[in-house]
Every structure is written in C-alpha cells, then in structure tokens.
C-alpha cells in the first residue's frame, strides 16, 4: 500500500483511453463502475475535445455483484457495437472489474462479431497510465497485423529505391494527453518532407484501424515517444524487420542527430547538412551577448523520461546551464535517465512522490526548474521560476497557438519558454536594486509572488526582537546589509551557506567579512 496525495500518472486503463480517443472508428468497452467515467473530463476539459471519448462504461453496481455481471458486460458490448459500429473493438476492465474476473475480452470474442477485438489485460495494481497506453497500442498493432506476419517478407529500409518512389516512414507514439503531440507531429512531418521523406501513417493520433494495417507500407518507423511506441516499434521490427529510430528530436543537436539517423537508416544522402544549423533561432539566441547571464544557471529537471532527458541535454549543451538535478516519474525509463544523470554528474531521482521531488528541488537550490505542472507549483512555493516541459497535462499545456517541443520550431519555443521566466528573474533583481529610488512605484510586484521575499523579511526584521538564525549565531548589521546586496534568487542559498560556514568555524556573529569568507570557502 502506498500513500499517495497526488500522482503523476493515472491508472493503465486511462492510457488505453488515450489510445482509443486518439483514433477513429475504435470503441472501447470498459468494465468499470460509474465513478470511472471521471476520466472523460481529462479529454473534454483538459484537451477541450468536442467529442466524448469513445468509451462505454459497463457501470456495474454493488447489487449486480451477487448476480451476473458477465451478462451486463455482454449487454453493454452489444449495445456499443450496434450504436457506434466500430471497425475495431477494445475490451478491458478497470481496477475494480479486474477483481471480479469476468474476462470481458473473452466474452466479447465469443459474441460472434466480424470486427477485430483487442482483449486488453492491464494490471491496475502494478502498472500505470503510460504503460497502459503502450500496451494498448502494441496489442492493437499486433491484433491488426498478425495475420500478415507469416506472408510478408522482411521490410528492407532500402525498399523505396526498388519501388522507385520517395521513402516512406510512420510516425508512432503521438497521442492525446501527450505533451504537445499535436504540434510535434506537424513539425516532424514538415522536417521529413523537406528531406524528401513521406509520412505513411501517423498513429495513434488521428489514425483509424485501416491505417494500422497500412503501417507495413512504410520502410521505417519513427519512434517519437518511447513511453507509448517503443513496444510496438520493437514488435514491428521483430516481425516485419522494420527498423526504427532512437533519437528523440527535441533540441537542435537531437534534431540534427535525428535527421542523420533517418537518412542513415534509409540510405538517403543528406544534402543540406550546413543549412540545418540555421533552421532554428536557438543557437544564435543562446550565443548572443544578451544571453550572457544564462551561462551556468542552475537548473533542476523533472518530468517524463523522454522530455526530462531531452531537457537536461538542451540545458547543458545548448543553453550552457548547469544541471543540478534530474529525475523522472517514468519507471520504465529509469535506466536511460540514470545514464543521462551520470553523464551530468548528478544523481537521478526516480519517484512518483511529488513531495520527494520538492525536497530534492529545495536541496539543489536551482535558479530555474523545468518540470511538470506539479513542479511549477512547488517552485512557486519556493520562489523559483519554472517552465513546464512534460505531462501530466494541464489545460495550459494545450495552447491555442502552434507550439511544438520537437524540431526547429520546438527549439524556438523551448528557448522562449525557458528563458522568459528568467528574464523576469532579472527584472526582479532590478526591482530589488532600485526599490529605494524615488521613481520606483510601490506596487510593482514580482510575478514570483511573496515566497521570494522570505529572506527579504529576514533582512528587514528587527534584529533586537529577532535573535534569528540557528545555533546561537547572530547576524550583525553589516552582515545583513551585505546580504541585501546579493541578488534575491541566490540570497537564500548565500544565507544558508554563510550560516553553515559560521557554525563550522564557530563564529558567533556574522559580519560582512564572514559573508566573503564563506563565499571564498564554498567557491
């Protein structure tokens, strides 16, 4: 049993709903009690979908449990098929139905329908949402393509040459409630088509069952989000010989590497290599003198595996930040995140507990947090600017404007989204510096709210009343005065470090000199 106040991922059947809702002509009969219908609002409210998710909940009640819940399942399947006429039916159960073992998938298969039926067994007490999405997409792909396995030859990535046409690829993994998937797909398709590569199928987002059957018309698969598509890509490789890409095109370096990888796999010459460096404004914006103050900024990264790894890499290599923390809630990607963390000389944090993340954030004392919506809230409490880089989705993460994370435009978006909170940070410093000037308007408030002023309160507190500080250490007037001159965003850290130093050296009173001694000691 695990005490959970908030969770990054929903249960696995919500992952299945993401696949079903992303696609057309599919219906999902979910053996579940009425309360589970809450999941519809994730799609209709967060994604602002104008359609209900294609899901029928069997809605069994306590009084049904003594009787025949299996009959109830069959009745719902029959009604759903008649009403929605799906081309493929998904059948599964949520946590409670798993306990009563009605085997809804097997029941559906015994009802004599013509359409393919995918029996989803998603263990609700050990797995989570992304796993459920991945498993559902995999089972669906397998069900719709398994008959073609024996008859088809292995697909060579060079087949396009024999066929005398442009190479074709599938883009696999984008789904509803995935981070900026809608726009990433457009960006990646644009990049591929510029290189003379056609997109065969995008799935699951916007695909229908027929499209899944057409996957094998492409030469290779683009695995855009490993959390969702890797299992399917692996199965397609094993059974049809289809190669798939490993590079996630987030950031300039990764996008270029991605384009290279695709070209190598297809044996397609890359003709515009030099151009690629200039496709995004990120490299120049990052290099321009205005970005001087970005160099060495301490940044804490937490998110799903794909986005956290990419963010850490961009932060370090493309913006010159110092990554002081890296973690993920995606246990399935723990290995890769640990490897990236090792390269960055930090310890990876693998957890589903947001309070642990908040603690780690506090300890790392970053100047910028790149995290989920939850880290945005934690960072706000700590007075640290934050940019959101990953699911779980919030209505704010489905912006009206085009704002991908991947490719060239994705890099532009990332530069703006990460740097603008810091710009405000600099502004805050200016406010702090000039607050005693007569031009300064009193009500000029920082966007960071009031948490950032905690050390300010300390500075302005009455020394006589407030002997302050731990372990009998006292701040003298000169010490306090010097502390006010430290930029607000590192003031908390300077204060803690100086006190730590004073304790270490047995210094009872902290003066301006102690501050400098501590600074020298810790640098």
């Amino acid at each position: 049993m695990e005490l959970t106040l908030w969770t990054y991922e929903g249960p696995p059947h919500v992952g299945a709903m993401r696949i079903a809702s992303s696609m057309k002509d599919i219906h999902y009969v979910l053996h579940a009690p009425q309360g589970d219908t809450y999941a519809d609002l994730l799609f209709t409210m967060i994604e602002r979908r104008g359609q209900r998710p294609p899901v029928t909940y069997t809605t069994f009640q306590a009084r049904d449990l003594g009787g025949d819940t299996a009959e109830l399942v069959k009745k719902n399947i029959k009604e759903a098929v008649e009403r929605f006429k799906p081309k493929t039916l998904l059948v599964g159960e949520s946590c409670t139905a798993e306990l009563i073992q009605d085997q809804p998938g097997a029941l559906a298969k015994g009802m004599g329908f013509d359409m393919p039926i995918v029996n989803l067994e998603l263990p609700a007490y050990s797995k989570k949402e992304n796993w459920g999405a991945s498993e559902t997409f995999y089972q669906l792909t397998r069900t719709l393509l398994k008959e073609k396995v024996s008859s088809s030859e292995k697909i060579s990535p060079l087949r396009w040459k024999e066929l005398g046409r442009r190479p074709k690829v599938n883009i696999l993994g984008p789904s509803l409630l995935g981070f900026r998937c809608r726009d990433d797909v457009i960006e990646i398709q644009r990049i591929l088509s510029e290189q003379g590569i056609d997109t065969n199928v995008v799935a699951p987002l916007g695909a229908c069952p027929d499209d899944i059957e057409r996957l094998i018309d492409a030469e290779i698969n683009i695995c855009l989000y490993q959390e969702i598509a890797e299992a399917s890509c692996e199965w397609l490789k094993r059974n049809f010989g289809m190669e798939y890409t490993n590079t996630i095109p987030i950031g300039i370096k990764n996008t270029i590497e991605f384009i290279n990888e695709v070209h190598q796999k297809l044996d397609l010459p890359l003709t515009n290599k030099e151009e690629l460096e200039h496709k995004s404004k990120l490299p120049w914006y990052s290099k321009s003198v205005d970005s001087n103050y970005l160099t060495g900024k301490r940044v804490f990264v937490f998110g799903d595996g794909t986005h956290a790894i990419a963010a850490a890499k961009i932060a370090k290599e493309e913006l010159g930040f110092e990554v002081v923390g890296l973690g993920t809630y995606s246990r399935e990607m723990a290995r890769q995140v640990r490897a990236t963390a090792k390269d960055l000389n930090v310890e990876a944090l693998i957890t589903n507990n947001y309070l642990e993340v908040e603690d780690a954030m506090k300890k790392a004392a970053p100047e910028l947090v790149l995290g989920t919506q939850m880290e945005r809230h934690s960072a706000k409490r700590l007075g640290i600017p934050c940019s959101v880089i990953s699911t779980p989705m919030h209505v704010q993460d489905v912006p009206a404007r085009y704002s991908p994370q991947m490719g060239w435009e994705g890099a532009n978006v990332i530069f703006d989204d990460w740097v603008h909170p810091l710009m405000m940070g600099l502004e805050e410093h200016l406010i702090d510096m000039f607050k005693h000037d007569f031009e300064f308007i009193d009500g000029h408030q920082s966007h960071l709210g009031h948490t950032a002023t905690k050390t300010k309160d300390f500075i302005n507190s009455d020394e006589k009343k407030d002997k302050n500080c731990k372990e009998g250490i006292m701040w003298t007037e000169s010490g306090r005065a010097e502390l006010t001159k430290v930029p607000f965003f590192v003031r908390g850290k300077v204060k803690t470090n100086t006190e730590k130093y004073a304790i270490l050296r047995g210094i009872p009173e902290i003066s301006d000199e102690t501050l400098y001694d501590a600074k020298a000691y810790f640098s």
């Binding site: 959970t4 969770t7 809450y38 009640q61 989570k128 939850m374």
Partner: protein, 418 residues
C-alpha cells in the same frame, strides 16, 4: 402530490462517485483528513476533480492498493496500519481521520470498520477514526457526504436540549446568514452538521429538530431519526420559494407564527425578487434538460420553473427518495418528467431530439454538447457555489443565465465586417 411522471432507467452512466464529495467535505472540516483506501484510479479521480496541485499538501489522499495487498487481507490491514501511522506522524494536526472505502476495497471486503476500531484504541485522545464508503458501486457524487455524516452520528453525544440542527454542508457565509435569520425569528440554539471543526459535533436527542439544507442525505436522516431527532419536512432552501417554505417549516416546528417569519424575511424577498428580474428575463421560456448527478436536480428544476419561468424537458436524478423529496415534488408543475438513474446514450439521444436551450450535466459531457451547439452548465458548480437561501437566489439563477448570455454574445453577428 402533483402529477409528475416518474421513470426509471438503467445502463451506462456518466456521473462521479461518492469519493468526489471529499472535495467539499475537507474544506468544511479543516481539522479532518480523508484517506481513501483504493486504487490509483481513486487517487486520479480525486485529483482530477479537485485541482490538488494548488495545495502544498492536501488534506486528502489515497492509500493505493498494490498487488501484494490483494493477496492477503491480513497483510492489507497491516499495511493500512503502517500508512496511517506514517500519515499521523507527518500531519499531527489531524483530529479526525476518515477511512473512506472505495470500489476495490468494498469488493475485496476490506473491513475498514474493524481497522478504525483498532486505530481508535491506539490513538485514543489524539485522533478519531471513522469509516464510510464513497465507492462508485454504492454511491453517486453527493451520496459520499451522506455516508460521511452518517458515520459521524455514533460519535455525537445525546442531549435533550431543544435546538435547530441544520444538516448538510453549506458555504460558511450562507450558514452565517441562515443563523442570523433564525436568531431574528427567535430560535437561538442553532447548530450545524457537519460542524466547522470535526471535533465540535453537535449533541442530539429528542428535542433536536433537524432541518435539511441538502436533498441527498437519506441515510443520515434515517440515523438521526433513530437517535430521536425530529425531522422537519420542507422543501430545500434553493430560491425564494424553497427558502421561504423552509424558514416557515422551521418556524412552525418552533411554534413561531407565520406572521413573524414574513415580517423578517419579506424585505429579503423583495430584494431578491428585484435581483432575480434580469436573470428571469434571460431564462424565461427557455427549455431546460437536467442530467442526473448531484440529487439537487429536482430542487433546481422547481426553482428554475417556478421562479425563472423555464420549461422543463426532463429532470434526471441519480437516486430518488420520494419521501424526502415529497415537498419538492409537490411544487413541480404537472407532467414534469422525472427520470431516476441513467442510460447516458439514450438520455443524450433525448437531449438531441428535444433541442434544449440549456443542459445541466457533468464536466465530461459539457464540451461535447457545446460542440454540438447546446449550452451547458456543470452540475459540480452547484456544490461549490453558495447557492442556498433567499439572498443567493439571484446568484443561483445567474449560474444558469450566464451560459445563455455567453452563448448570445459569442454567436452574435454584430462584429462581422463587410
């Protein structure tokens, strides 16, 4: 009883389960913690409905069952024990801990009552434990509050003191207004259940006169009757009419003259009628379809028809206690179609066929209906907004006139440039 038309329907539903009521109960009693014993689905449901991220640490959480907990119930009890210990160590300010049963905990027959009993002995004088079920196999949405209140009744001491007990969660400001009005009427001893502090439970007995503020408390009412309380029969205090009759019923129980009631509340009524006018103008003649969710539907239908002159197409309710609702049903117009239960697909077919001007529905259905050109109002807003009483009648009407006003603005053609 007026000649309303009763129908029952079963099938797939689109409603919240009783766990959702934690969202307002925890705000009502800031010294209580609600621990759901359930699955990741339960945790995800509550955080999706409650916007948990705004809290540093919310006063509700889920002990998520894992595979090993399902293998042996003895171990599950032990595990729950451990989770509770950790929780209390972390949150020493908690005075009452609600162990809330869920669909999976009910199905595996996890005995939360026994767990609560054991914990009560161990934490005697520090934390009280009560248990109830908010499971979706037994409860819909507001019924969770019914379960929570019922669970508190055994902890309430007996007293034969005469008092008025307002039962059902109210917004604090509304509660204060009500108490002031009752005091003006001459009723001085007034208490609320649930109280604002979980430890300050009212004492009850044969001279306790219960006045319900919410229509979804069937089980609570039954247990209060068993404790000797007298339950005042009245419509619910939504709108001017409902609130007036509610005050009158209370006054009658305390042998206060009708004249006195009218004297006190008629200025309020005049004021409220005036405030209601602009909303009535928008709502008058508009056709309303209420999907089932909160059990407030019948009272809302009565208000929106009788005071705002809306036409009622269908009034859905997840559950109907005809006895508790009889005063309300009597006030409904003849031939009102009440549907208890739900078959969401068939009901949506009826929504589309009847082409309503406004549909009251859950959040999962709102955007899809809007996309079809049908204006909506979320039912969850009724349980979060202060809507009770004469002074709030216009605000209540405003919840329904706003979507229509919005729709008119957004579909107006005045901005078209040529």
């Amino acid at each position: 009883m007026s000649k309303v038309e009763f129908n029952k329907e079963t099938g797939p539903r689109e409603v919240f389960c009783g766990l959702t009521s934690i969202v307002w109960l925890h705000r009502r009693m800031p010294d209580a913690f609600f621990l759901v014993v359930g699955s990741r689905t339960c945790a995800h449901l509550i955080q999706s409905a409650a916007g948990v991220m705004i809290f540093a640490e919310p006063r509700f959480g889920t002990a998520i069952l894992e595979e090993k907990d399902l293998a042996g119930l003895a171990d599950a009890h032990e595990e729950l024990d451990r989770v509770v210990n950790d929780l209390i160590a972390r949150r020493p300010e908690i005075k009452t801990l609600f162990l809330v049963g869920s669909c999976p905990s009910e199905v595996i027959k996890l005995d939360l009552a026994t767990v609560a009993e054991k914990l009560n002995k161990r934490f005697l004088g520090q934390v009280r434990f009560v248990n109830y079920s908010g499971s979706g196999i037994e409860t819909t949405f507001t019924q969770g509050e019914d379960g929570a209140l019922k669970a508190l009744i055994p902890l309430m001491e007996s007293s034969n003191e005469e008092k008025l007990l307002l039962v059902g969660t109210l917004a604090n400001n509304v509660e204060d207004r009500f108490k002031k009005i009752f005091r003006n009427l001459g009723i001085s001893n007034i208490e609320s259940f649930p109280p604002r502090q979980s430890t300050e439970l009212p004492k009850i007995g044969k001279n306790t006169k219960v006045l319900l503020t919410q229509p979804y408390l069937s089980d609570t009412v039954r247990d209060l009757k068993h404790r000797g309380c007298e339950v005042i029969s009245a419509p619910f205090p939504l709108g001017i009419e409902g609130s007036t009759k509610w005050f009158l019923a209370a006054a009658k129980a305390f042998k206060i003259s009708e004249l006195k009631v009218h004297e006190i509340i008629s200025p309020l009524i005049d004021r409220a009628k005036l405030a209601l006018e602009s909303h009535k103008e928008i709502l008058k003649g508009k056709r309303l379809f209420l999907l089932p969710e909160s059990q407030l539907e019948i009272s809302l239908a009565r208000f929106l028809h009788n005071e705002c002159e809306m036409d009622l197409i269908e009034v859905g309710t997840p559950y109907l206690n005809k006895d508790l609702m009889k005063e309300e049903i009597n006030l409904l117009p003849d031939k009102t179609k009440i549907v208890e239960g739900q078959h969401v697909e068939k009901q949506l077919d009826r929504v589309r066929e009847s082409n309503p001007d406004l549909v009251v529905c859950g959040m999962g259905l709102a955007n899809p209906l809007e996309a079809e050109g049908i204006s909506t109002k979320w039912s969850i807003e009724m349980v979060f907004s202060p809507i009770h009483g004469i002074d709030q009648a216009a605000d209540l009407a405003g919840l329904f006139s706003k979507p229509l006003k919005r729709n008119k603005i957004l579909t107006s053609k005045t901005l078209v440039t040529h």
